[in-house]
Amino acid sequence: MTALAVRNLVKRFGGLTATNDVSFDIAPGQSVGLIGPNGAGKTTIFSQVMGELRQSAGTITLFGNEISGLSTPGRIRRGVCRTYQVPRPFHDLTVAENIRVGLAPNSIWQLVTRRPDHAREAEIALGVGLRETDFDRAPTELSMGDLRKLEFARTLATGARVMLLDEVFAGLTVGEIQVVSDLILGLRRDGMTFLMVSHDLKALEPLVDRVIAIDQGRKIAEGSYREVLDDPDVRASYLGGQG
């Protein structure tokens, strides 16, 4: 069974085809990089998998179940969750409360009657490398690296089994890139499935089993990191008209 299967995905915005007949499979526990130049349509694919955008054609299945008809929260409850290019924490809630929102049950009755699971909040926070002293802090007091960790924590709190990481290294220092890479490797060892977009190809290399390259909405290459980066079409797309 595949963790995430995308079949003949098409997304049109008027005359522009942002996703053009893209298909790929990711097996459980696999980690796949999605690369391409700016405007290639990487984030558009993420948005369609999450249901933030509805595809014009094609299907998306998660662990064998078609999820194309579900709302975003419905898909998240089935086990897929994403992070954003710019972290989007709830700025007036504490770190612990941010994670609480990810853990929260999707029933008003349970939201009112169930007590927050502080032990689980702490477990998740410490698991991604946040410190106990961070729990009551506001996200505005955190460094970019810690904000990324908080995003991971909230995503993990939703019970995600497939994580889509959008430009996960953007805005991080060299040291922070290492910390986040280690976090991803740790989660991989625990069986997490990843699809990740990054412009930092060097940082991506040790994290992925496979790479998919897209350009102008179309898949142009798929294979090992080396194969895809050596592909003449991929090189041409990255170098633009000069290639």
Binding site: S71, P73, C81, R88, F90, G102
Partner: protein
């Protein structure tokens, strides 16, 4: 967000203090407090939608009006007893809350505020045009059954209402439900991106807010014994509700109570010197100064003072737990 013994002690102390108040203050002051109590109820209702979820309503009297008119018409025109008319009025207001929810499914910010303002104006026009024999048209209604007689009873009734509604909503907002609603005002898409159905959350918030507005509106009309559409569906009334919640501290429940009392007494004490609308300049000025100093209102000022005091006490006791 946990509950502590001192939270309940503070609520208990406040409620006890208020219940003893009629022993010490004049009837005139009690009458002022009655209005403060009702304003606090309306401000809490507004705060549940607007302070929490960030959907700023400029038409809250639309909901209050549904509650007030429903019970007034049922009791006066159809002889329905208040025991039945008030619950029916609250149900009707909650249905009204769902009407306010409809635009909130698609739009937010100033667009949502304008639509709610239109709801209030629409309601004002409708009560004059549709069946004025029932609503009393432009002149409103008088001779509506009152539940209490005298300032003391009115005070106990209005304060009991405020105490029950404020403690109830306060407890509700301290649950994970309250946390999720606050998160909506910060980034609604991220709430959906955390697996929560925001439509369901907003529906619940609007129903809670409408419930409070309905109870407040119904009891208010049975306190006053009359109903004047121009005073109810009035932009000044809207601003008084919003400013009460904001200067007290939005999204806190305690803040709107502080704000309502402050505003009511400010306007009342200014009356001998400034009997006309000039008073509103002073209140606008006070609100402006406060926003410049602390946009989160009195509640934030009090909490900052409290944590400074605690820090100082902790420093004085060497070896004590910080």
């Amino acid at each position: 967000m946990g509950l502590r013994w001192y939270h309940f002690a503070l609520w208990g102390g406040f409620i006890l203090f208020m219940y003893l108040l009629p022993e010490f203050v004049s009837r005139g002051t009690l009458r002022t407090i009655i209005f403060a109590n009702f304003l606090a109820v309306f401000a809490i209702s507004w705060d549940v939608i607007s302070g929490r979820t960030g959907y700023v309503s400029f038409g809250h009297p639309f909901l209050i009006g549904i509650g007030a008119y429903t019970t007034a018409i049922l009791t006066k025109r159809f002889g329905v007893p208040v025991e039945l008319s008030i619950p029916l009025a609250v149900l009707a207001t909650m249905a009204g809350g769902l009407i306010v929810l409809i635009p909130a499914l698609r739009i937010r910010g100033s667009y949502f505020a304008l639509v709610t303002l239109a709801f209030m104006e629409l309601m004002y026009q409708l009560v004059q045009v549709i069946r004025p024999d029932l609503t009393g048209g432009t002149r409103g209604m008088s001779g509506i059954q009152t539940l209490t007689r005298g300032a003391e009873n009115g005070f106990y009734m209005s304060f009991t209402l405020l105490a029950v509604l404020s403690v109830g909503t306060w407890l509700l907002m301290r649950t994970q439900f309250g946390t999720a609603l606050s998160a909506i005002s910060m980034d609604e898409d991220s709430v959906a991106g955390s697996g929560l159905n925001t439509v369901k959350l907003k529906t619940a918030a609007f129903l809670v807010s409408a419930f409070v507005a309905g109870v407040g509106g119904a009891f208010y009309v049975h306190y006053l014994g009359s109903l004047a559409p121009r005073a109810l569906f009035d932009i000044n009334f809207v601003f008084t509700i919003i400013v009460a919640a904001l200067i007290g501290g939005a999204s806190t429940i305690v803040g709107p109570i502080i704000g309502a009392f402050f505003l009511t007494f400010l306007l009342e004490y200014l009356r001998p010197w400034l009997p006309g609308a000039e008073r509103y300049f002073i209140y606008g000025g006070v609100a402006l100064l406060l926003y410049m100093y602390q946009p989160k209102g009195f509640y934030a000022i009090i909490m900052a003072g409290w944590s400074r005091l605690r820090a100082r006490m902790a420093r004085r006791k060497p070896g004590a737990r910080a």
